[in-house]
């Protein structure tokens, strides 16, 4: 589904990703773990198409298409979704308005009928209730004054409504209390399908207790230095990065 080959990317002229390879098959869940500053969010931004994240070498192919040639909105319409590590505040724009605009933009691009306000609210109600998001929250300006955990839940609600094919969750677990973590993980698991893949970025095993990955990768200094099964994450939890990284990378 997604194939990243020898990806090099710079930010402000500084190389952050250098030679990253990663292939994620349809239906798979891959976890990426790595020390602070190793380039995890940079990878997620490159996949989403953020300006200022310059790809200098390598390729990213999504369902056979050159993903890097697409604008951010085109990627979203093609089915890429990034749950942000730090969701952005958008003053004045009600959460519901934002979501409906986004969902309809994506549906329109797919040649599907756009939802009217009532259809949308009905649909949104089911998702937000599953995530414990109140109706009041939908009327508030998007992410403005939301608590850390509320922002993350809102990201997951957006993801559920946009029904992407490939989703990147950048530390969606950080900021969630134990109950919220369970609820959010259940929501994410419910989205697992044979034709939908995910890249889950996290620092902690506890998220992977709920969302069991097929493959775990360790990212260090802009490249993947080790990959393994779910056990790799447990090993990391026990030994720390120094204990799991190959000597050359550490």
């Amino acid at each position: 589904m997604l194939e990243i080959k020898n990806l090099h990317a710079t930010v402000d002229g500084r190389e952050i990703l250098n030679g990253l390879d990663l292939t994620i098959g349809a239906g798979q869940v891959h976890a990426v773990m790595g020390p602070n500053g190793s380039g995890k969010s940079t990878l997620s931004y490159v996949l989403a198409g953020r300006e200022g994240y310059q790809v200098t070498e390598g390729s990213v192919t999504f369902e056979g298409r050159d993903l890097l040639a697409l604008k951010p909105e085109e990627r979203a319409r093609a089915g890429i979704f990034l749950a942000f590590q730090y969701p952005v505040e958008v003053p004045g724009v009600a959460s519901a308005t934002f979501l409906k605009t986004a969902v309809n933009a994506v549906r329109k691009a797919r040649g599907e009928k756009e939802y009217d306000a009532f259809e949308f609210l009905k649909l949104a109600k089911a998702k937000r209730e599953a995530l414990g998001i109140s109706e009041e929250m939908m009327k508030r300006a998007l992410n403005v004054g939301f608590s850390g955990g509320e922002k993350k839940r809102n990201e997951v609600m957006q993801m559920m409504l946009l029904e992407p094919k490939f989703m990147v969750l950048d530390e969606t677990d950080s900021g969630l209390d134990v109950d919220a973590l369970r609820v959010v993980a259940a929501g994410v698991n419910a989205m697992r399908r044979a034709d939908r893949s995910m890249l889950v970025i996290t620092h902690y095993q506890r998220l992977l207790d709920y969302i069991t990955p097929d493959v775990v990768h360790i990212l260090s200094r802009g490249r993947i230095v080790r990959s393994g099964g779910p056990d790799l994450a447990r090993e990391l939890e026990a030994k720390g990065y120094a204990g799991v990284m190959p000597v050359a990378a550490a």
Partner: protein, 509 residues
């Protein structure tokens, strides 16, 4: 400007009524989609109607003033008033006021027509209106035939210098409401016109008001009798069609004791390389316990991206809250015109009277806007509220200029001003110029101002959800303006939201 809408808008801000709340949420979600459809549209009112017109000879002179007055069969007192204004105007230089933050080449007042009217007009019923004119208004989204007319809105259609049709007149007349062109009011209701014309904006008020007093051609007249709540929205649609023609309309609205009226104004003009002058005067009078809500969606042709052409909109709008507990609300959405110079104001004379000013001013490309309000507190316990949202993009410049003046007798006066500017791109400018003069120590005046930018982070966040850049800008700008859009009548709110998207087209690379 307006579209019929099956569902009337629910009041905002009343909590604890689930049905209403749900409507509000639904509407909020609906709004964004409305914008969607229109973001890629250019100025769509730029066409010219091919119609034979009567013109006054070009230029401005005492003879032209007499010509206009004679065309309208005006009484002597009105001609005398016009001539007084004309002579005063001549003595002013003619030199326009220079304090506003706008710049433009010198206007040649002799190089314009002061009267242009379709040949086929005259007092007649709707069935006799020239089909070309009906088609024009149809194209503008304002069907005039009552069968097809907008639900709940009566329209006075002003085409260049004359009113060509007024809808639902008979229905309104049955309740004692007078809604007609000001020329007709001069003929049919001279006592009312004579009593109130110039009583809020005297002919000597300012350069443009003086010019208007000399050469005003048409406009609307409204009188709501005691205790009547006007059953429909009243609306005037101003259209400039003829080339090299200025539009000088005059609107006068009188709300008698305990009455209530909501009035809407819309404007468009063809796309032309030349600048055309629009210098209107609007006077509102609210007596005891009366309320006037005046909404404008101004979409005059703004000129092209390089600043060529467009309307010079120099307008004087003022309301007098003469009675106790009276209330005047101005709401404006200013998206058009090359230059906007207007300060809809309230004179809060009656005790406990209330003045409100809600404004959205959007400038893009080379547009310039210097706009704001004046709230003059005279009576006791008068209060005023100002919410101004300025959005500048391109190389445009937007200035908010507002005056809050509390006179010594205005015990307990209150004002709250919120003035927010949003900048899009690095080449535009926004200025806030508040003047606060309080001569009563019991007055309570609050002024808040913010300036913000649409950040790249916000745009990327929207885009990563599938929303294109221009739609994202429109979404954020509509959010920024929400407090003002909410006070517009529903029909206008929808139109205004679309306009926001259209006016900011191309503002982000």
């Amino acid at each position: 400007m307006c579209r019929p809408l099956a569902r009337r808008r629910a009041r905002i801000g009343r909590k604890g009524r689930p049905m209403v709340e749900r409507n509000a949420e639904a509407r909020a979600a609906d709004n964004a989609a409305q914008i969607d459809a229109l973001v890629n549209e250019k100025y769509r009112y730029g066409f010219v109607t091919d119609i034979e017109s009567d013109f006054a000879p070009k230029g401005l002179s005492e003879d032209i003033v007499r010509f206009i007055s004679a065309k309208k069969n005006e009484p002597q007192w009105l001609l005398d008033w016009r001539l007084k204004a004309y002579r005063l105007w001549l003595s002013l230089g003619p030199e326009e006021p220079a304090w506003a933050k706008i710049s433009y080449p010198k206007i040649d007042y002799q190089d314009a027509y002061y009267y242009a009217a379709p040949k086929s007009t005259g007092p007649k019923s709707l069935d006799e209106v020239d089909p070309e004119l009906l088609k024009t208004y149809e194209k503008l989204g304002i069907p005039l035939a009552e069968r097809a007319a907008l639900a709940g809105i009566a329209v006075d259609a002003v085409f260049d210098s004359v009113s060509v049709a007024t809808t639902f007149k008979d229905k309104l007349a049955s309740m004692g409401v007078i809604f007609c062109s000001i020329s007709e009011a001069v003929r049919e209701h001279p006592e009312l016109v004579r009593k109130y014309l110039g009583s809020v904006v005297p002919y000597a008020d300012n350069f443009f008001a003086t010019l208007n007093s000399a050469v005003f051609t048409d406009g609307s007249f409204v009188y709501i009798p005691k205790g009547v709540r006007c059953p429909m929205e009243l609306s005037t649609y101003f259209r400039i069609n003829a080339a090299k023609t200025g539009q000088f309309e005059r609107t006068l609205i009188i709300a008698d004791e305990g009455s209530h009226v909501s009035y809407l104004e819309g404007c468009t003009a063809p796309m032309r390389d030349e600048n055309q002058l629009h210098a209107a005067v609007v006077e509102l009078v609210a007596l005891d316990d009366a309320e006037i809500k005046y909404s404008t969606v101004q979409n005059w042709y703004p000129g092209d991206a390089e600043g060529k052409g467009g309307i010079y909109n120099f307008v004087t709008k003022r309301g007098a809250c003469r009675g106790r507990n009276s209330k005047i609300s101005w709401t404006q959405v200013e998206t058009g015109s090359a230059i906007t110079w207007k300060y809809p104001s309230c004179i809060l004379q009656g005790d406990h009277s209330v003045g409100e000013f809600y404004s959205i001013a959007i400038t893009n490309n080379r547009q310039q806007a210097d706009t704001g309000t004046k709230m003059i507190h005279i009576g006791k316990n008068t209060s005023s509220r100002i919410i101004s949202k300025g959005i500048s993009a391109g190389r445009s410049s937007a200035t908010y200029r507002g005056l809050v003046r509390v006179l010594p007798g205005a015990e307990g006066a209150r004002n709250h001003t919120q003035c927010d500017s949003l900048l899009i791109g690095p080449n535009c400018a926004a200025h806030t110029v508040p003047y606060i003069e309080s001569r009563n120590p019991s007055a309570h005046i609050e002024h808040e101002a913010t300036t913000s930018k649409i950040s790249d982070d916000q745009l990327f966040y929207c885009r990563s959800r599938g929303i294109g850049t221009e739609d994202a800008v429109a979404l954020i700008v509509n959010g920024f303006c929400r407090e003002v859009l909410q006070v517009l009548p529903m029909e206008f709110a929808v139109e205004a939201q679309k306009l926001v998207g259209v006016s900011l087209e191309g503002s982000v690379g």
